[in-house]
């Protein structure tokens, strides 16, 4: 961790305040001109700040939407339609919030993949990584509950399917589901608690984001070469160099966001959610939002019991096994820093890992496609293959690869290759 540099404002009133609560110094030392940052960060390093920005947009648009929304099964759907038709700029705010969730996930997924490619989870940044996963889990919970609020068909049936996952837990499963519902099915009590928690969790996320940034500050930023900073020549101040680079990224990202927001606001949604919830009719197919599809595919890929073949002895029934696989697929990432045995961080110097990384990306895309299809024909088999490979990557390939792979020689320092090229 770099030296702490105190800010001394010229303005007397400001200096008086700064002496008593050094907020300017704090900002300046975390993302300011007193924050030495590796000089070689590429554009993949933009997505952390983009995710943070999307969180802010979600909170602001969400707080405003809550002023018009009614969390009651009799009125929820209509209150959302009223936001769309009658509330001034209501359509803009709601589309911003709905598409904002998608773009939040886009930023976070790219941020996570960047971490996987450049080994950002390795020592000494394990806690940064794990806090990031906590944020990811909280985001998923928040997004899921938010999707229930409009009380359309997908809201209702998505909530039914996901809460029913907990019924797979042996012995106490059904009691837990009843506790989650506050009744005997997804109904008014469920909607109200989801609204309450959907409002709360983003602020919890904000808290964990601060810890995530703090932990990053302690262990310093990683960089595309994956080698440690050796001297001041390896670093440049965060401001203005990365503030301007991040700002450019924001411009590009917002342009894309605006395309969806203004020209195709429903492209990422499901038309069935414009049908009011009906507890007696299940839609033709229940599809979660796109960002949940890989996990949904993993859940559905398990259709067999774990037991002794040829007998009736079953250790884990299919339903529970599917649920375990789904949760394990994310919880597994918490031990990734120890599963990956390679000392070299960046995939730039790991030719074999680089290939497996891209296979994993393809595997995730495959699972996304499978998750959106009905479980018929070839799709369940592809889902099973994708699931098995996903776990293979982390549990078998990474531990072995770290021991076997012949890595490329690392550069002496971050500055060296750059300065040499300049000579």
């Amino acid at each position: 961790m770099a030296e702490w540099e105190a800010v001394k404002p010229q303005n007397k009133a400001l200096a008086w305040f700064e002496e008593r609560l050094p907020v300017l110094s704090l900002v300046n030392n975390v993302m300011g001109s007193a924050t030495p940052t590796p000089r070689n960060l590429n554009y993949w390093w933009n997505f952390g700040s983009l995710a943070g920005l999307m969180l802010v947009i979600q909170i602001i648009s969400g707080v405003v939407l809550a002023m018009h929304y009614t969390p009651d099964t009799a009125m929820a759907f209509d209150s959302v339609e009223r936001i769309m038709r009658d509330v001034n700029y209501g359509w803009l705010l709601r589309y911003m919030h709905a598409n904002g969730a998608s773009f939040f996930f886009i930023a976070v997924y790219i941020h996570i993949l960047r971490g996987l490619y450049y080994g950002s989870y390795k020592a000494p940044r394990e806690v940064v990584w794990m806090l990031g996963l906590v944020i990811f889990l909280l985001m998923m919970a928040t997004a899921f509950m938010g999707y229930v609020l409009p009380w359309g068909q997908m809201s209702f049936w998505g909530a039914t399917v996901i809460t029913n996952l907990f019924s797979a837990i042996p012995v106490i499963g059904d009691d837990i589901v009843q506790l989650l519902w506050g009744g005997f099915s997804v109904d008014n009590p469920t909607l109200k608690r989801f609204f309450s928690l959907h409002y709360l969790l983003p602020f919890v996320i904000t808290g964990v984001v601060l810890l995530h940034i703090w932990a990053k500050k302690v262990s310093d930023s990683g960089n595309p070469l994956g080698i440690d900073v050796k001297s001041g020549a390896d670093q440049i101040p965060f401001h203005p160099y990365y503030t301007i680079k991040d700002a450019f990224g924001v411009g590009v990202f917002f342009t894309l966001f605006a395309v969806f927001l203004f020209y195709m606001p429903n492209a990422l949604g499901h038309p069935d959610n414009y049908i009011p919830a009906n507890s007696l009719v299940t839609p033709d197919s229940i599809v979660p939002e796109w960002y949940f599809l890989p996990y949904y595919a993993i859940l559905r890929s398990i259709t067999f019991d774990l037991g002794i073949p040829g007998t009736d002895i079953i250790f884990i029934p299919a339903k529970l096994l599917g649920v375990i696989a789904m949760f394990a697929s994310i919880l597994l990432l918490f031990i990734l820093p120890w599963l990956d045995t390679s000392k070299v961080r960046s995939a730039k110097f790991r030719p074999a890992y680089r290939i497996f990384f891209w296979i994993l990306v393809v595997d995730m895309i495959l699972l996304t496609l499978v998750g959106g299809r009905k479980p018929e024909g070839i799709w369940p088999l592809l889902g099973l293959i994708g699931t098995v490979y996903y776990f293979m990557h982390f549990l078998v390939i990474l531990p072995v690869l770290g021991k076997r792979e012949k890595t490329l020689p690392l550069p002496e320092s971050i500055a060296n290759p750059v300065l040499k090229a300049a000579e």
Partner: protein, 184 residues
């Protein structure tokens, strides 16, 4: 070194003060846990939810081979007027090929063979299976088919194929007379 420090660094480590610390912290822990319970239990079904009345259903209007869906405790209940062939089919199945082994007789009320009453939520993840309406996909076993994850139920509401672990649940119900039942 003061006497105070000597007692704290004592060889055994346990003294009066430690005992007080542990018991005080223990009591505070128990109190906090008890205080937490109302915050958890408020999530369970409230008294008015629990008091949801029973439902009485008139069966006279359901023709042979037809089924209706009624709502009970927020959940759909399938009531099916089975044909002789469907009853026969349900009875003929050998028990050991079933996933959840139950005879047809265990799933109906004695003397009312043609009426099958089951809770219409798939035991997998709670979707409502198709098959109650004319023209619905009834699955490979002529009962119900859950479109969500592909579970097939037979004419006794038993799971035959797909990810669902159990047969469709049979609610508590009784015949009030030959053509009406009370669920719950």
């Amino acid at each position: 070194m003061s006497t105070n420090e000597q007692t704290i660094e004592g060889e055994e480590g346990a003294n009066r003060r430690d005992f007080l610390h542990v018991t005080a912290a223990g009591m505070a822990g128990v109190g906090a846990t008890l205080a937490l319970w109302p915050f958890v239990d408020q999530m369970n079904p409230a008294a008015d939810t629990l008091a949801l009345a029973t439902v009485e259903v008139d069966l006279a209007s359901i023709g042979e081979g037809e089924a209706i869906v009624v709502k009970w405790q927020g959940k759909p209940v399938f009531i099916r007027h089975r044909t002789a062939a469907e009853i026969e089919e349900a009875r003929a199945v050998a028990l050991d090929i079933l996933i959840d082994k139950e005879t047809d007789a265990d799933r109906i009320l004695a003397g009312h063979d043609k009426w099958l009453v089951v809770i219409g939520t798939c035991t997998h993840l709670g979707c409502v299976p198709l098959g109650s309406k004319t023209g619905d996909d009834k699955g490979e076993y002529g009962g119900w088919f859950c479109p969500c994850h592909g579970s097939h139920y037979d004419t006794s509401g038993r799971i035959r194929k797909g990810p669902a672990p159990r047969n469709l649940d049979v609610p508590v119900y009784a015949f009030m007379n030959d053509t009406s039942i009370k669920i719950g």
